[in-house]
């Protein structure tokens, strides 16, 4: 009720000490379709559920390559995602030019976090409406980071963002301790199980709506790539073999999925501008 008077300006705190515009921006991230990230000692992977506006349309791209050693999955406003990922590419490229080394992943994520923070403090600017899961590898091994429009970034063993991501988080919390020693195929299988949790009733993962991003050495089913394993995206038929490896879902009726802030009665009515 009262929060409506404190939520139109970015630079106004509410009496509870909250910035409502930033929180609304986080809502935009929750509107996007789910993305899941997890890592082991050797690999870090991203899995994303792609949305399409209808049968005639293509599926919205959810993953971007930033550099050989960094890739991202997005949830939220795709246009904001393009701007921020372009900025990340410039930063990574600049580091290679100036220092002849791949940009340390934590510094790359900090650079967009600092950039996003500016938009939460300046009058007249709106926060970015997109969240990222960033995977990368550098001298200290593979990493997974989450970036959110509030300007916060954290490193995780496993994380998910987007619509119905809480269900995926529940799965990840149950299994994350086994991830460290998984091989690539098992890691992808865990990720697909987690992603499956975010689906609505009667939907399923298929080669059209699933994409997998990988950092780390070559897996069993991949065509030869040189170590240390640059970021690559698997889509379409390349994903089939991993989808086959999933275990059948239990038929026990799942409790009604966590009610979202916005109603979504059928898939086609999902918000169109976000991916």
């Amino acid at each position: 009720m009262f929060r409506n008077t404190y939520d139109s300006d970015n630079t106004v705190f509410s009496p509870q000490g909250r910035l409502h515009q930033v929180e609304y921006a986080l809502e935009a991230v929750k509107q996007g379709s789910a993305a899941v990230g997890l890592r082991s000692k050797t690999h870090a992977i991203l899995l994303a559920l792609k949305r399409s506006t209808g049968e005639l349309a293509s599926y919205q791209q959810k993953m971007f390559r930033i550099d050989d050693h960094v890739g991202i999955a997005i949830a939220g406003l795709t246009s904001d995602a393009r701007v921020l990922s372009n900025f990340m590419r410039q930063q990574a490229m600049g580091e290679r030019m100036m220092f002849n080394r791949p940009m340390p992943v934590n510094r790359l994520v900090s650079s967009i976090a600092d950039k996003a923070q500016v938009n939460t403090q300046e009058y007249g600017r709106r926060p970015y409406g997109v969240g990222f899961l960033v995977i990368g590898q550098d001298q200290s091994g593979p990493h997974l980071f989450e970036f959110s429009p509030s300007g916060n970034s954290y490193e995780y063993y496993a994380m998910s963002i987007g619509a119905r991501s809480q269900s995926a988080k529940t799965y990840l919390e149950k299994h994350y301790e086994s991830f460290a020693d998984c091989n690539l195929e098992d890691l992808i299988r865990h990720g697909l199980h987690a992603l499956r949790e975010t689906l609505q009733q009667d939907k399923e993962l298929n080669v059209n709506n699933t994409s997998v991003g990988i950092i780390g050495p070559m897996g069993q089913h991949e065509k030869p790539i040189s170590p240390p394993g640059s970021f690559r995206i698997l889509e379409g038929d390349n994903v089939e073999v991993y989808l086959q490896s999933m275990e059948k879902k239990e038929e026990a009726p799942a409790p009604a999925s966590v009610p979202d802030a916005a109603p979504a009665p059928t898939a086609d009515e999902d918000v169109q501008m976000s991916g």
């Binding site: 002849n100 340390p104 001298q139």
Partner: protein, 266 residues
């Protein structure tokens, strides 16, 4: 007739340039002037200079040597100058050429190191990164026609790998297991190559030191802008160590056999 009022009353030659077409007509400029920029001068020549720097790869790492002289033209002016500078925990940079530009380079690298240290995330600048940064910097300055008038050797040891490279005022870079700048490139390089090439993984620290000292001695005999007081830096898995200044022993007694030496008449 001449149509341009600004040419009336000015010298012109009706015979070949009736309309005063040359020099090209320009409106007088009365706008804001940047008198500071007008007075800026770019580096035209080095003033206080250092001479050769030598470096070789050896079994445990990289060794670099330079004398302690900064000359003011032909005057041996500053005789306790350190031309080898440590950057971070893995790199040494040695400079010949203009010493004030080298001091500026040291300042820049110090700032870089501070930023890297404050990140505190386990990443450190090694010789590869320093060399790339310096190459970009030197080339950018040369492209602005305002060079940092130096020839630099960058040597280091990180992650089990030796590194040795050269970059100069033109932005030229190269890498080898023996490098030398200035007069050293002509006089010392053949000596270093003979002693080192093919044996980089065999040469011990003592032998490496001797190789560099012998080359420095030859340079002191032959380079008229050198000094027999020098330092040697060794970079290995144990880190960076730059020695204190040492004296080179030399033998000048051969001079007495030269006709016309000293008070001799024949």
């Amino acid at each position: 007739m001449d149509h341009f009022p600004t040419n009336w009353g000015r010298p012109r030659n009706d015979a070949f340039d009736a309309y005063a077409t040359y020099p090209i007509h320009q409106r007088p400029y009365n706008g804001p002037k940047d008198s500071f920029a007008d007075g800026v001068q770019r580096t035209q020549q080095p003033i206080v200079t250092g001479t050769s720097v030598l470096a070789i790869k050896y079994k445990d790492g990289v060794m670099m040597a330079a004398d302690n002289l900064a000359s003011y033209g032909s005057l041996a002016r500053f005789k306790d100058v350190q031309r080898l500078h440590q950057v971070g925990n893995y790199t040494v940079i040695g400079a010949g050429g203009d010493m004030s530009d080298f001091q500026y380079i040291q300042y820049i690298l110090e700032e870089l190191s501070i930023d890297e240290i404050s990140a505190q995330d386990g990443h450190e600048l090694g010789p590869v990164e320093i060399h790339e940064y310096m190459s970009q910097l030197m080339y950018a300055r040369r492209s602005k026609m305002d060079p940092l008038w130096n020839s630099l050797l960058i040597g280091g040891f990180k992650d089990g790998k030796r590194f040795l490279s050269y970059v100069d005022l033109l932005g030229t870079t190269y890498s080898a297991s023996t490098l030398a700048t200035g007069y050293g490139a002509f006089i010392a390089q053949p000596l270093l190559r003979k002693a080192v090439e093919g044996r980089e993984d065999v040469i011990t620290e003592e032998e490496a030191r001797k190789i560099l000292e012998d080359s420095l001695r030859v340079l002191f005999y032959r380079d008229a802008r050198s000094l027999n007081k020098f330092q040697i830096a060794a970079i290995s898995s144990a880190g960076v160590s730059i020695s204190d200044s040492m004296q080179l022993d030399t033998a000048w007694s051969f001079a007495e056999n030269i006709r016309g030496y000293g008070a001799q008449t024949q």
